[in-house]
Subunit: 452 residues, 3 copies
């Protein structure tokens, strides 16, 4: 429902839409809510949230709806958008502009990466990303961080083991970025062959100054038996040097083990999970794990034995339950019912118009299906080397040349001329023939050097 708002319209598309200070405020409010969940039913009174789910996710939906009900609000549920309105072929941009007339807030789950970003561009009410394909799931990240914060009292400097399939779950990647952003240290204990991808490590280094170091995980026992561990820390190099040795950094104490399921559906035939780690009593006997809480985003399959359920360190069900108060806090904030107190919050990534048709190569990016409503947009990742990503799905763009939207000249991406272009003028071009076909021309003053 469009109406006069006291504050500016805010969405939660990515965890980066919130500042660290705002996230901490959400934690504090969530803890208050959790202490007496029935005492806050005035905050959402008369408000309605709409769950627009284009793929089923009972758990996430119920968690949001529980939070909204606890706030005293009402809930509209469209749990199966795929088979209902989609049969009439309506675009997401149109659906959002209809549903904003029915609700005060939209919770969106969609199989296409970037769907929530697109929805937020059209919606007059707050949009919360409840998962867009394999891209982001920021409230899962909030829930995980909140759980760590509750259990450890802080996030900065704590040591979190991430175990299992670290390659394919982008929600795990989002969690890693957020841990780095908060100054937590990450010990990666991947299943063999399912290590963190290079682009994640690169982003950790570029954006958060987090440095991966080879780790000596021998004290982790069974947990790291089959793994080459990596320690990633956002600490300053001079601090790091204090405890780095030739044999790698020694893991001495662990605050949390975050176990992940194998993303079997995305594996290549070579990526077997036959001997995938299974957390059990034996695994948790290592001395450095004695205080470590065990987390899992659920649902689990075999990667955590049910024999651990009774172990007081197993908090995965508590972790799921904490999704309710943290979502209460988020809903209340976006509905303008509580203040997050940051005078200069982030306003989403800086996106630049992409003057040519959308250049994203990701086949499940929303920019590929909502061609009429998408506003082609790119995110500049770095200037040296020149790297850019799709403004919707965040996937890095592949290009050999960059054209200037003004003088229509194109340059090799490695050239100084390309790097010096103003971002809003950059047109990313796969190769020279495509550039020429799009009406760009090679610079006359210098020979174009093709990329090696």
């Amino acid at each position: 429902m469009t109406e006069a708002r006291t504050g500016p319209l805010r969405h939660l598309v990515s965890i980066d839409d919130l500042s660290l200070a705002e996230i901490r405020t959400l934690f504090e409010r969530a803890a208050e809510f959790a202490a007496d969940p029935r005492a806050w039913s005035h905050l959402g009174r008369g408000r309605i949230s709409a769950s627009l789910f284009y793929e089923p996710s009972t758990r996430t939906r119920l968690s949001f709806e529980s939070a909204m009900l606890r706030l005293g609000g009402g809930v509209l549920t469209a749990a199966d958008m795929k088979t209902s309105s989609a049969t009439k072929g309506e675009s997401l941009a149109d659906t959002v502009r209809v549903v904003e007339g029915y609700a005060d807030l939209i919770v969106l789950r969609h199989p296409s990466e970037g769907a929530a970003r697109l929805a937020s561009q059209y919606s007059a009410v707050p949009v919360i990303n409840a998962g867009d394909g394999s891209h982001e799931h920021p409230t899962q990240t909030l829930c995980d961080l909140y759980t760590l914060w509750i259990e450890r009292g802080r996030l900065e400097g704590i040591d979190v083991v991430l175990a299992g399939d670290l390659r394919y779950s982008r929600t795990i990647h989002s969690f890693i970025y957020a841990l780095a952003r908060f100054g937590a240290n990450i010990v990666c204990v991947p299943h063999h062959g399912l290590e963190l991808p290079d682009y994640v490590l690169q982003r950790l280094r570029e954006e958060y100054g987090a440095e991966p170091v080879r780790a000596d995980a021998s004290r982790l026992g069974d947990l790291a038996a089959q793994s080459d561990a990596v320690y990633i820390t956002p600490q300053k190099p001079h601090q790091l040097s204090l405890f780095t040795e030739a044999s790698g950094l020694k893991v001495e104490h662990v605050d949390a083990v975050y176990m992940t399921r194998p993303q079997t559906e995305r594996h290549t035939p070579e990526e077997t999970t036959a001997d995938y780690l299974r957390l059990g009593h034996a695994t948790l006997k290592a001395d450095v794990l004695r205080d470590a809480v065990v987390m899992h985003p659920l649902p689990r399959r075999d990667e955590i034995s049910q024999e651990l359920d009774a172990d007081p360190r197993s908090i995965y069900f508590k972790q799921a339950a904490r999704g309710v108060p943290i979502r209460m806090a988020l809903l209340a904030a976006l509905l303008g019912q509580i203040e997050l107190g940051d005078a200069h919050p982030p306003v989403g990534p800086k996106l630049y118009p992409a003057p040519l048709a959308n250049p994203c190569a990701n086949p499940t990016c929303i920019s590929r299906t909502e061609t009429r409503h998408v506003q082609p947009a790119t995110k500049l990742l770095s200037r040296h080397p020149l790297r850019a990503a799709c403004g919707y799905c965040s996937q890095e763009l592949t290009f050999g040349f960059v054209g200037c939207a003004e003088d229509r000249v194109y340059w090799p991406k490695e050239s100084g001329e390309a790097r010096r272009l103003r971002p809003e003028r950059m047109v990313f071009l796969r190769d020279a023939p495509l550039a020429e076909a799009a009406g760009f021309r090679a610079p006359v003053t210098a020979a174009v050097v093709p990329p090696s």
Copy 2:
């Protein structure tokens, strides 16, 4: 929930169930509700509506449920009745009598024409028709009329262009009847081959005295480029003659353009929509359209270009949003929480018992599937010529003879004897052999003249 009611039990099966005065009251209350949607949560407090949807329609369902939540009521949702209880083969009449025990009001969507009429005959709580096959969708009509009333301040005498596929959407036909009833003028700009059916024109003439006139739509420009326009006005003939010319009535000013999507699923192979009208900036440049609002029941496909979304005349998303306050008013009225103030409201069409088995030829009429619970009923359309329609789906009956239920004599439909029978005694009979088989006999005093 059956209980003592202060007023009589009212349903909304057809828009004709409401008097013009009542509809105007609904508009006024809806406007009050829209001004402060959260101020009315006392009206539905403690009340429950049940959404019984036998085919998916997320938009309509969410609009109703939003309205009920805004009134402070509770909502029961059965969004997929087709695959759930229908698997146990329960009749609609039984389901309704069960659900009336759970809710204070039933919102019914069903693929069979006449389903809401049948449900209303069995329900002890108000039934609202949220679409019965291709028959009626009265709250869509209310929403469209309310939008025009808000935008133009009145309905009488305004000029509304209806463009596109005017042949197959019966909800468009319902809208046209309602416009005529309120004294609005209709400019039909159909896609070639998808003109208004004759029976719609006939009903407009018979029931509302609305006269179709050939129109000169040259000033409508692109909008009418491929079309022979027709102007339909419920005004009195002497008024009409003032501005009729040999070349047809000239369209000088348009209040609204109501665009419709092609009902492709119902088209014959000859009815192509290859060059179907697409509203865009160019179309709206005609001077007579400068103040015209653009409406669409949504979802749209290509018939309205997204370039129009930013045009202030485009109000299709506002139109969708207005479905909530008008439905709030309707729900509040049927729940007995607001007065509509008409001492003598209509009580639905006058139906006569059909003493033989239901004679409807419409294969998707509810009377064909709920054979045990249907109370065969017919609606007399006219006496001269003798015409009758199914009391459920409103489809005109095909018959050659009429029998008298009392003396068991049958007459040709063109005969004076047939026309003079009392409606409650009329038995509609396809042909003479069927009449004889059903135990009727030809009149002995005169030779039966077979219909030519």
Copy 3:
């Protein structure tokens, strides 16, 4: 939501989880609620129930949700658990431990027998069994008993005819046990070949002292025309002898006829229902039926003619409506909002651990699918003869021998040694080879006599 509770955590898995005194209190409270259903919206305020439905059952779900809304509570709906989270392969035990974080009470419908028992073992919030396969549906039983109590003012000593397919519906069997428990008399009028199974009669005799007597049902007319009626009464033998004759006990007066649908989906090819009883005006003309109310759990098909709908004795739709107040009372009780007033309520059946893997032979028992989370448990039915049932699905176990978990010796089930074992030590073994394979040995002091 786990939190401090004033009373102990109670579930409703089986009707036997409630004492007779508690059920009577529920009736009284339900009658109060029904008198003014909107006056109790404080009882559930701020509480949330979650409908977890692993198979569709719109009627049962809506009845529960209506009850919760009437209490002023909120509702989370997962109507299609089968196709949503189950696709990710999560166990019921895990799902329950997640959902308990979202809701204050779980209403569970599941196709596997024993599912609600298992869920209750893991849930920190009350679990209500809304149907577990063909096992139990205790709130249907409560609703039926409540209806009889309202109509007749008491249950003890009333005469209830059960007609139709008495063989296959276990919910009918649950109803029969409950009638016997309350001291009602049952007149069985089965369709030919679909008589009450022997194990039901046996349990009636063993647990409730209810004695089947051949009945003279001649005064029931058409209702019993094709049937050999059986009269089952929990009255003491000396009372019974007063009115037993050689020709069988004469049915003189009937308080209620409970009609059941043929469970066609479970019938063998020999079990035809071609001439299945159809209740109509003619059937109800018998003098002994003049005051009998007609009940049916719905949905009905042909077994009750719609001509009876207008008969004041037909109360099947009222019966459905009464599901709401009785469920309101149950929800309020399990949420700790009303007192049931029994200082020593039953706490579910006494279950004994089954030291070997679960021995249940029922392929749809939850113990067969949730192998990781099940706590193999058995219920001792009798010592002479030695009989035991699965603690989840209640199906009787088939075994030839019983081993002692302590000394690992096994005995024939008929032996005195077997019967004298303490129940918590009993291991039920199909045959001697299996016993030996499981590490048990035959007693050395006596020859093992194989069961004949």
